[in-house]
């Protein structure tokens, strides 16, 4: 992880760590904080706790997002302090708008059209949401500009050494974000043989051809989750509300769990009961016949 971040994440970059509730690479976010990257433009549909931590650590110049809350709990306090104190630049869309930005970026088009935003105040506060007249029907459609990040980081259940990456469960917008990006870092729970990938090719979301680095980091998505590996740590998400309410508490957390550990393995050693509490149960699927 140290090498991948040192090599592929640079000061001033447009950085995406995607994953909708599921498979959020906290391990990569923490490494970026440890390496003290600055002036990043952080993009994600839901900034979640990881961007709250990165904003608090001073990594972010700007945030591009569509829903900035603590899911199921309430506010992201570092984000709110930064916005209410006007120390963080923001560019705001809706979820569909962000998805459309990644879709345009992945298809290497300059913008994407969508039927959205009519009657809302969002275009008034974000001049990058524009409109175009359809040349076939004359209908006015909203447009959002392509988002092509410098680097996208995706956590996944498994990949082979080349970076052929398989994901199951909620898929979010990871495929589009990865294809839109200049560089892609894949972080996985398990490294598997290429034969495992080839035995079930429909499950591959990201091919090795677009991957710059593969990092093996078990539990790298905690406190988010990895379907089939470990559950979401809802207790931590609820606890974050108290930890982050004052900047002192948040700094203390970063000192202990981010700056105070070298890597994910040390982070897990500090919390010996975590694995037992969150380990996933068994729910196997029936296989299919790929023969011909």
């Amino acid at each position: 992880m140290q090498d991948a971040v040192a090599r592929h994440v640079r000061d001033g970059d447009v950085v995406v760590i995607e994953g909708f509730t599921h498979l959020i690479s906290f391990a990569a976010g923490h490494e970026i904080i440890r390496q003290r990257r600055r002036d990043l433009t952080l993009c994600r549909l839901t900034p979640d706790l990881i961007y709250d931590q990165m904003i608090a650590a001073g990594c972010a110049k700007k945030l591009v997002f569509s829903w900035a809350g603590n899911p199921g709990v309430g506010s992201l306090h570092a984000f709110r302090r930064a916005v209410e104190g006007q120390t963080l630049e923001i560019e705001e869309y809706s979820h569909f708008g962000m998805v459309a930005r990644f879709s345009a970026g992945a298809a290497r088009l300059p913008f994407w059209t969508l039927r959205d935003y009519a009657g809302t105040d969002l275009p008034r506060v974000n001049p990058r949401i524009k409109a175009v007249t359809c040349p076939y029907t004359g209908e006015e459609l909203a447009t959002v500009p392509a988002l092509n990040p410098d680097v996208t980081i995706v956590h996944a259940q498994r990949a082979d050494a080349q970076g052929n990456t398989q994901i199951w469960g909620l898929l979010g917008v990871q495929k589009e974000a990865a294809f839109a990006s200049q560089r892609v870092i894949v972080v996985v729970e398990e490294l598997v043989d290429e034969r495992v990938i080839r035995s079930d090719p429909n499950r591959t979301l990201i091919p090795a051809t677009i991957v710059s680095a593969v990092v093996v980091e078990p539990w790298g998505a905690h406190p988010s989750y990895a379907q089939g590996y470990y559950d979401r740590d809802n207790e931590f998400y609820i606890g974050w509300d108290t930890i982050s309410r004052e900047s002192a508490g948040l700094s203390h957390y970063l000192d202990e769990f981010v700056y105070g550990v070298r890597d994910r393995a040390e982070y897990m050693q500090k919390q010996p009961r975590l694995a037992e509490r969150l380990k996933a149960g068994e729910q196997r699927c029936a296989g299919v016949n790929y023969g011909f």
């Binding site: 569509s66 979820h95 469960g169």
Partner: protein, 232 residues
């Protein structure tokens, strides 16, 4: 009561875009009572979800296990929502105004917010594309101002607002929300006290039936035994 009233609004076989909290309880209550064929779609990509525990977030792993389909979010917004496949959408918000417009973005001016809220998420496009919108929100003059501070989700498809005292409906002639139904033991003045504009009433007000023992038992013992969302 809010979860029960919301559940009764759903017809069997409908395709519903579900939010977390009371809407989720309502949909799962409806599925276990009068609407076993309700199709629950979550914006995270789970289609036909049958969560075996109360999902704490919209992306809970229990929404995936045993669902009919899991798709990426580009498919959720383009193939389901924009395609017009969603019949009912649930929304909530910090502010709802007399036209059913919702604010989940900021209190105060956008550039210098008094309170920064989470933002739209999928709410703007749900409000625009779902055929019928149900809002679930507790009454208070702060939450129901005459005009929202910021218009996140337009109100033109809002059919009903389910509150903690009664139900408001859209009056098609004026476009305004009007009082349509009252919960047991509540008077129209109680509802008016929680609304920041002069709330008109339907000529004949509905008296809503209290929850049945089956509904209460399902909510309290099966769906939300820890009372995460049933506090009100």
């Amino acid at each position: 009561m809010m979860a029960v009233v919301a559940a009764r609004e759903l017809a069997d076989g409908e395709v519903v875009f579900v939010g977390i909290g009371l809407p989720n309880l309502a949909c799962n209550l409806a599925r276990r009572t009068h609407a076993p064929n309700l199709v629950l779609i979550y914006e995270s990509g789970a289609v036909g979800a049958t969560p075996s525990r109360l999902p704490v977030s919209i992306g809970d792993p229990a929404l995936v296990t045993g669902s009919l389909m899991v798709c990426g979010m580009a498919d959720v917004f383009q193939l389901f929502l924009q395609n017009g496949r969603i019949e009912v959408g649930f929304l909530g918000g910090a502010q709802v105004d007399r036209h059913g417009n919702i604010n989940t973005t900021v209190i105060g001016p956008y550039a210098r917010p008094k309170v920064r809220l989470p933002g739209s998420g999928g709410a703007a496009e749900i409000a625009i594309h779902a055929q019928r919108i149900l809002i679930v929100s507790k009454l208070s003059p702060r939450s129901f101002p005459e005009r929202v501070d910021f218009l996140t989700s337009p109100g033109q498809r809002v059919a009903k607002v389910i509150t903690d005292k009664g139900v408001l409906e859209r009056d098609t002639a004026s476009g305004d929300l009007v009082l349509a139904g009252l919960y047991p033991g509540v008077e129209a003045t109680d509802v008016r006290a929680g609304v920041g504009w002069k709330l008109e009433s339907r000529a004949k007000l509905n008296r809503l039936e209290p929850p049945t023992t089956t509904e209460l038992q399902l909510l309290r013992e099966v769906l939300d035994p820890q009372r995460l969302y049933l506090k009100s």
